[in-house]
Subunit: 369 residues, 2 copies
Amino acid sequence: MLDHPRKGRLLTEDDIIALEIGAGILGTGGGGNPYIGKLRAREMLRADYEMRLLSLDDLDDEAQIVAVGGIGAPLISFERIKEGREGLRCLRALEHRLGFTADAIGCEEIGGQNAMEPLVVGAMAGLPVVDGDGMGRAFPEMQMTTYSIYGHRSTPSVMCDPHGNVVSFDHAITEKWHETMARACVIAQGGASVLASAPMSGAFMKRYAIPHTYTQAIGLGQAVIDARKTHDDPVATICAREGGQHVFSGKITDLQRHFKGGFNVGIARIEGLDDCRGSQGEIVIQNEFLIFRRDGEMQVCVPDLVVVLELDTGLPITTELLRYGQRIAVLALPCHPLLRSDEALNVVGPAAFGHPDITYAPLAEKGAA
Amino acid sequence: MLDHPRKGRLLTEDDIIALEIGAGILGTGGGGNPYIGKLRAREMLRADYEMRLLSLDDLDDEAQIVAVGGIGAPLISFERIKEGREGLRCLRALEHRLGFTADAIGCEEIGGQNAMEPLVVGAMAGLPVVDGDGMGRAFPEMQMTTYSIYGHRSTPSVMCDPHGNVVSFDHAITEKWHETMARACVIAQGGASVLASAPMSGAFMKRYAIPHTYTQAIGLGQAVIDARKTHDDPVATICAREGGQHVFSGKITDLQRHFKGGFNVGIARIEGLDDCRGSQGEIVIQNEFLIFRRDGEMQVCVPDLVVVLELDTGLPITTELLRYGQRIAVLALPCHPLLRSDEALNVVGPAAFGHPDITYAPLAEKGAA
């Protein structure tokens, strides 16, 4: 059993503020806005709760880690305040159900609002949060984690809603079935619930979690804050940190968005500015920014990250906040190698998002450019 | 603990054949067609399984009874064959979960196909089925049982689908929330699953189950079979047995059906024949036959039973089998007094079906006419 309560680095309010920005950037337009989660986390720190971040290196192989995350429509959870203890109730119900005690809390998705939920639950339970996640970005469905891709069965799981209802997914024949049933249920519950998945071992997480993504997101957010203070270019700062490329600058000239098959889908067209004058950019949206094309040629594609920032401030823009006339920078960040295997591309490659015609061409990896 | 395995009356193939007709009549047009269930039950009897019917009088107060029933869209479960052991898996998962052993199987809904499911599960588990149910007819939603109405909390429950997925509803803040979440989940599972509810005590069932409804349905079906053999009038036979009234005979001249808010809703208009020549009948459909009006005046209304039979054969017609030009008899059968209390009318009265303008006027009770 892990000597858990006192392990890990204590997070500060400044870390949470930076995490909001970093998680927003890694959300690639989706994953929900981390703003409400930031407020919750900050209030907890002010009320003397402790938030600890535990490196994967410090995790015992035998430790049992429960990943928790919000499930539902991101826009709903931005507008509808949580009851607040949904995640803790999930954790306790799962522990009671399976007869174990969690050693640490895990994160499913560092991109967007699910960066915050594990911190809140960890603080309430007195447990550290593992510094890593299952996506390294945001994806719209539960089976799209490296945990699921590399063999973890996420059932039995427990889902709690703000009303007090509790549902267990005892067994799903596939990870996708788990997603399908939980998705239907959360919609019935009002669209903003929390789910805790079956525990993972420390040994499994060390191998298959995308590592250090809390540290990465906090550092990224802090770099943007610092760049703005010193009037440096935040876009260049982000690219330098992440081994990314600034692939386009432009003004949004056309925006089509609609709801199809449970996804927010659409296209944003961008007229080039500055170095890109005379070029046309196009972003394909499917909850997240999925694909970027320049003058009809694909430049970046899922699972690599298409990040959209305000050109002037370097702050991330989510898909629902795109507006006609906005001046934006499009960045391409390489995804983690765990998302580039054949197993992973089957689940999170372009074909999994309905683009079987597109062959994934990986961006140069961080440090390789 | 109940001395259960050898108690109760053994059912025969003839009983099952009669039950198909009787359950169809008490289904008031809904509850699903019991035909497939009859085939399953008959095959089990031929394979030497035993089906036992246990009178409420023979039930120990301390006995623990698990009610099981199909949930989903009746039409789907008529066209899509079950895996077959969903109900048994639900029972076992619930027993394991709560750490008890069921003494008998209960029925939620005698009307339609849910008359058969408990018999199949009871036969597989070697347990008798209690002679009674929670509706005395068919209703479209789970909270519409006398069990729920009179205080049983049906969670924790377990739902199994034909694929092998298992979901538990651990806690629902109301019975209606249980219905809402289970309904969403079963739709995701393909529309034809089985659910086992939290156990009831023998003492509770003696007080709040609608009694003897298996015996009633089997007797009713047998009476129709006998009347057809002896060329007696099956419609008159049913009315005599059930204390009901033959309120209309006619030909369907107009039929409107559509899907609204999860219900099959519609109206059937009937031109009078025989004694009813010159009159117009109208049936309001909401999964079941809900209301019957003659020349604009309400004659029968939920929770009393509006039963539609083929005029010539006395065989029940379900809402989806109504056709233009059909010659039908409309019967009114009084519901059980347990459905007529204020508590019950709040859940299964006309207002609960979206007709707050209609005041329920009870039919004369069985034996009182």
